[in-house]
């Protein structure tokens, strides 16, 4: 398999007041271009820590991370992040929030008209053209998250990193956004790494599900390849034996193999 993002022997140790805290150890993972990876695990297992390492927001204490053949030395627009709580700037309109990102990435090569067209295209991609000139506090949580996704996609990143992007949304909105995300990924052929704690979301969206063991000192427990044809439809999948098997495998990992570690650790 061709490696686009590779994570080699990565470990992360935080120095806290109580001493050293090993969050992650011995993480080895290769991600191909265009692949959709879900990171799943119990809360506190270090899923987001791993995502932040790929984003470059934190540096690993051990090992090395590569993206497109280069070491990840810091955050950058080629690895766009959709944050857990959208992180839109409240003093800018949706359009301006996206424009800020577009301007940063493309202003060296393109004129203002082109940048605006890009912004508009990104906002239309997530179906929010009507809310372009509203402020984040004037729109719903699902819409904010969509703007966050549009902002990330507008930068044409090599890798799209999503940190529980739909975690704070209600079930109906979440389903709708998952469908939208699948369509967008198909259109843009984006490489995606998504942190989630929702088993159905992981199985529905991803090509591979990376399951982390419980922290502290979490590492990759199992990797499950989800061999379901695309485009996927949540209604027909519900009775698909392959879907049900994948779902069962993830549930078994989370609730049988990793169920009691937390107690042992505590």
């Amino acid at each position: 398999m061709e490696k686009f993002v590779s994570i080699e022997k990565v470990g992360q140790t935080f120095t806290t007041k109580k001493g050293k805290f090993v969050a992650l150890r011995d993480i080895d993972l290769n991600i191909a271009q265009g692949e959709f990876i879900a990171l799943i695990g119990h809360s506190g297992c270090g899923k987001s820590t791993l995502l932040n390492l790929i984003a470059g927001l934190t540096r690993p204490t051990d090992g090395v991370l590569l993206c497109d053949g280069r070491e990840i030395a810091g955050p950058g627009p080629e690895r766009a992040v959709v944050f857990q709580n959208h992180s839109l700037l409240p003093w800018l309109t949706c359009f301006e929030n996206i424009y800020l990102a577009v301007e940063r990435v493309f202003s060296a090569k393109e004129g203002k008209a082109k940048l605006k067209a890009r912004t508009q295209a990104a906002i239309e991609l997530v179906g929010l053209a009507h809310a372009a000139h509203k402020y984040p506090n004037e729109i719903s949580g699902g819409m904010k998250q969509r703007v966050g996704i549009a902002r990330a996609l507008s930068m044409e990143p090599k890798v799209l990193l999503m940190d529980e992007p739909f975690g704070a949304l209600d079930a109906l909105t979440r389903a709708k956004l998952q469908d939208e995300l699948m369509k967008i990924c198909e259109k843009t052929r984006a490489t995606v790494v998504m942190v989630t704690h929702d088993v159905d979301e992981a199985v529905l969206l991803s090509d591979r599900i990376v399951m982390l063991t419980n922290g502290p000192a979490a590492t990759i427990g199992e990797i499950l390849t989800v061999d379901l044809p695309r485009p996927r439809n949540r209604l027909t999948l519900a009775n698909d034996p392959a879907y049900i098997a994948a779902r069962a495998a993830v549930l078994a990992f989370l609730y049988e193999k990793q169920a009691h570690v937390e107690k042992e650790a505590a």
Partner: protein, 314 residues
């Protein structure tokens, strides 16, 4: 260092600090406004002719809102009247009212440098506050930004600020007189000294409290330092800065009265002292009210400004 803790925050499923930022200022500042607008709209859109109930209702709500403060003021004047009606050194409300009517009938007269109308006195005090305060903002806000951004500089300067901040600004007056050799700039300089601390402290605190999420956005986008300052830091810090400005102008208005008593010249503080020397106690009481009202107006004007700016910003 920061991002490490941010990661942990996210992992343990805590709410990150985005929304916390807006809570201190927004609800008090921005929230009541839309409600008011709505009620006004309603009142305007209802045709007044047929029933007249909306108008009566509006009058009633206004009455309910205005009653307690008016009652409080009446009680104050009542106590004052009772306390002074037997005569004595302190004049009663009626006497002060008469003096005030005489005084305000010609607030802008000029009979030489030491005898000018109350209007001139208030204006020259305001001018000193304005100039001193303006310089303090010019120096204090950028300094606050720098201290907020650099942990090292902040650790270096904070002990000095902590040492100097509790010092009464009047203690700096002799230094000002020595440096400027004139009373007027010395008073302005005192205002500068007392206004600068809240400005530095609040701005620096605001910069330190910019939510890590916004800074992470800046890092992922790899924004230039200029963009970080204009698009993220400045709007995020604005509410803190405005709080600093409000506190500063409050202290400045307190201090100017005392400073002018010492330096003389034209100004409301000097005027109070001059009227004490003339034993016109009713004028001193008028001055107390004038100082209070001007201070109130300054404060309210800044609250209004803060409301407008943060509304635009958020």
């Amino acid at each position: 260092m920061h991002s490490g803790s941010a990661t942990l925050d996210v992992d343990f499923g805590q709410e990150s600090p985005v929304d916390r930022r807006t809570t201190p200022l927004q609800p008090s500042a921005a929230a009541p406004a839309p409600v008011q607008e709505k009620t006004m709209e309603k009142a305007l859109s209802v045709p007044p002719a047929p029933t007249g109930i909306p108008f009566a209702e509006r009058l009633a709500t206004f009455g309910r809102a205005a009653l307690p403060p008016v009652l409080g003021l009446l009680v104050l004047i009542g106590i004052w009247h009772v306390a002074t009606h037997k005569g004595g050194a302190i004049p009663g409300p009626a006497q002060v009212w008469e003096a005030a009517v005489a005084l305000f009938s010609d607030p802008f007269y000029r009979n030489g440098p030491n005898d000018q109308g109350i209007g001139w006195n208030v204006l020259s005090s305001l001018q000193r506050v304005g100039v001193g305060f303006g310089f303090a903002a010019l120096v204090g806000i950028p300094l606050g930004f720098i201290l907020g951004r650099s942990a090292f500089l902040s650790a270096m300067v904070n002990p000095i600020i902590s040492l100097l901040r509790p010092v009464s600004p009047l203690a700096w007056l002799p230094i000002g007189l020595l440096v400027f050799k004139k009373a007027d700039p010395a008073a302005t300089y005192t205002i500068f000294i007392c206004s600068i601390w809240p400005m530095i402290m609040n701005t620096a605190q605001g910069v330190q409290r910019v939510p890590q999420d916004y800074l992470n956005v800046a890092r992922v986008l790899a924004l230039s330092e200029w963009k970080v300052v204009t698009k993220i830091l400045f709007p995020a810090v604005l509410p803190y800065m405005l709080t600093g400005i409000r506190l500063s102008i409050g202290t400045a208005w307190l201090v100017i009265v005392a400073a002018e008593m010492l330096t003389g010249g034209v100004g409301i503080g000097f005027w109070v002292w001059d009227e004490w020397n003339n034993l016109k106690v009713e004028h001193i009481i008028i001055a107390i009210f004038v100082i209070g009202i001007v201070g109130l107006i300054l404060e309210q004007a800044l609250i209004l400004l803060a409301k407008k700016l943060t509304k635009e910003a958020s």
